[in-house]
Symmetry: C2
Subunit: 467 residues, 2 copies
Amino acid sequence: MLGIYVDRKSGMPLARQIHRRLCDLITASRLRAGDALPSTRGLAAYLKVSRNTVNEAYAMLWAEGFIVGRQGSGYTVAEGIILPKPAAAGAPPPALPACPVRYDFRTGVPDLDRFPFRAWARYQRRVLESVRPRDMHYGDCGGYPPLRTAVADWLLRSRGLAVDPEAVHITAGATHALSLAVDVTGRGGGHFIVENPCHIGIVTMLRLKRVSFSWLPVDELGLRIGPPGRRSPIGVYVTPSHQFPLGHVLSAGRRTRLIALARKRNFYVIEDDYDSEFRYDGPALTPLHSLDPDRVIYVGTFSKTLFPALRIGFAVVPPALRQTWNEFRRYSDVQNAIGDQAVLARFIEEGGLNRHIKNMTRAYGLKRTALVAAVQARFGDDSRVIGDSAGLHLALKLPGQSFDRNFADTCRRVGLAVMPCSRYELAGTEYADTLLLGYGNVEPDRIADGVALLAKAVAEHRAGTRR
Amino acid sequence: MLGIYVDRKSGMPLARQIHRRLCDLITASRLRAGDALPSTRGLAAYLKVSRNTVNEAYAMLWAEGFIVGRQGSGYTVAEGIILPKPAAAGAPPPALPACPVRYDFRTGVPDLDRFPFRAWARYQRRVLESVRPRDMHYGDCGGYPPLRTAVADWLLRSRGLAVDPEAVHITAGATHALSLAVDVTGRGGGHFIVENPCHIGIVTMLRLKRVSFSWLPVDELGLRIGPPGRRSPIGVYVTPSHQFPLGHVLSAGRRTRLIALARKRNFYVIEDDYDSEFRYDGPALTPLHSLDPDRVIYVGTFSKTLFPALRIGFAVVPPALRQTWNEFRRYSDVQNAIGDQAVLARFIEEGGLNRHIKNMTRAYGLKRTALVAAVQARFGDDSRVIGDSAGLHLALKLPGQSFDRNFADTCRRVGLAVMPCSRYELAGTEYADTLLLGYGNVEPDRIADGVALLAKAVAEHRAGTRR
């Protein structure tokens, strides 16, 4: 009967299968306008299904307008439903197989084996028990109010930033905050300035958004702010506390110069404070934001201090931008989810975050010390560790060397995940001799072995490039 | 001594207060390049703080480059730090005070008093106990794999959509999925077509993104697809299962015509299936997506079936768009948070979602019946309820009336939240006589009173406009 059949092993309900099959026959013109459909009784008997099942399938077809008529007097195919076969579509490229990583020197990967799972789960249980229905409706797009207050308070205590909770806008991580910052400041057109070398995320984001940008070089005092060009930017992206990837601190002179220029030329500074919670020679530095809250969009994240898949970060938004910022948020992804925000608020309020950062600063500090010692032992005077002693990675300069993407691939094949700095250079080859070594996710007792393997790879690479 | 002081009641640590105060003095040029800082011993004695506290403040200033020198031999202010006072910035406009709502006839607001909190919390506890550190790192930007599988399976069973889990991209709600769809399909320029009247979210989103768009009218067969214009769109936004706001079902003839046109003119159809889980005359309709998975981006959400602040929705993405889609996601907000995804996956797998939808369809069905009866009783033959019997609202036509924003404001003042359809009209006044009545969040026993109050407001409005 018309090639209609049902598959009892399929997950799709029988009525949906009959509906689907009839749809296919109608759109393929095997059933045409005016053609009568089988009676529900006849089709039910043929397919060995209940008559209700066929009725349900017909009711769906009728509601969608594929068939006309009514129950009892029979249905026919409606007019004007023609849909020829589509051309074959290209399949997406297959995903690359992942290599196992034995020594993980990637940047920006925190150590989650030390995460206080039990404490976090305890907070989560307590918070869940106190969640009210009204918190589960749409809320303020800027975030759950107790979390905004907790973040403002934490910024005051840990960074010396005095900000109003209303200025804190909770986002789904730092990348999300940066994306909103670019959308909001860049909506009228104009170009951005980034650092060179630079965090590749912001560069790719600007390219995808088709926003024009240029770059300024970085030296040991941070971003080198030259004389202002004729064309003013609309935004300048900086990592003042711990330049990514080199680790330098933006000097006070350049800080004040950048702010003065932002005021004069009417642009915003986007300050990405991505991992400076962890500082091993002293307390976390004071953000650029403290110099001018009207000119700086300060971006922070809990991806490194807690865990990346939490997807909570924030921006401190200047008053003049807040209305537009909220509009962009409301009409792009509305707001953060309530659950994790409530847990994090309680975790910060009750000191859990501070305790965890203190523990992790000690743990990462030991890893950094072990890594610097291993590097000294293996590369000695041929090498230099650059940048401030902070964050989750260091930059290792090996003068005379030249590393490229191939080097990273070669390392990966022996289980060593490491990134050449050249990957982050937008122009030039000034840092071709520099490698980035993350120590967040490598165990202290594996660091020496990992660096030994790296030294071997470097020696082979040197031999290879000399041939 | 220089006007430095500390406030022991402040939340800011003492060292940060000293640092902040000295920063202010330096940037205000009250301390100038070359000026000596007080000795740590002297300043500590003056402020009655420990010498370590002053040392810590000086170490921060030194690391940031505000001062030069070294511990023991004294510090002086660095060269080149000048930052004049900024001009006063404008304050953001104050927020409007919210009115209390006694009868909530807003559209798209689900009933959360009936949400199975205890079951949800139970799933949450079980999932938390099984979360592993590797799930807490960055994951696949398309979502937690078990959730993608659960959603694909649920689409098969509830909608007859056979989609690969790889095609399901988990987003932070439907608005987020629509935003990504516009970014991905619209990146090369071009214009969109929307419905008139239309969901205001997509229209505001297109305006904010500065994407050009036009509209086509809606009648009782859904979007009226005219003869193709000279200029092909890049995307057409439709709500085929339950047109927002009128509630019509897009007819089969128009469905096939739209898909045929999309193939011929090479555009994508963005199908927003925002609330059609709840259908009172039969099962949920089959999405447009089933007609051509290569041409339709299907968007769904759990905001209405579960709760809005969960922020989980999804898009079923055509193969040819997946790579670009993933790039946009990765460089805008990376991925959804892991916790709620894991809970939702388990909730769907174990039948919790189906049970809840079944319960709520019964509950909303009763509310709809009560609302239709109340409307009949109060407005009788002067009125007509239009659209398919589905979703969380209905459209009430009151021929001869003309409602505007003022009417909504008047209603709000007596505690009645209701929206004129004209709010969603992009052009014309065809639906000036139509009101939208949501029944998701109003209790059945308050419906009759609410409609009585509405009838009074309508009568007064009629009298007012006649004067």
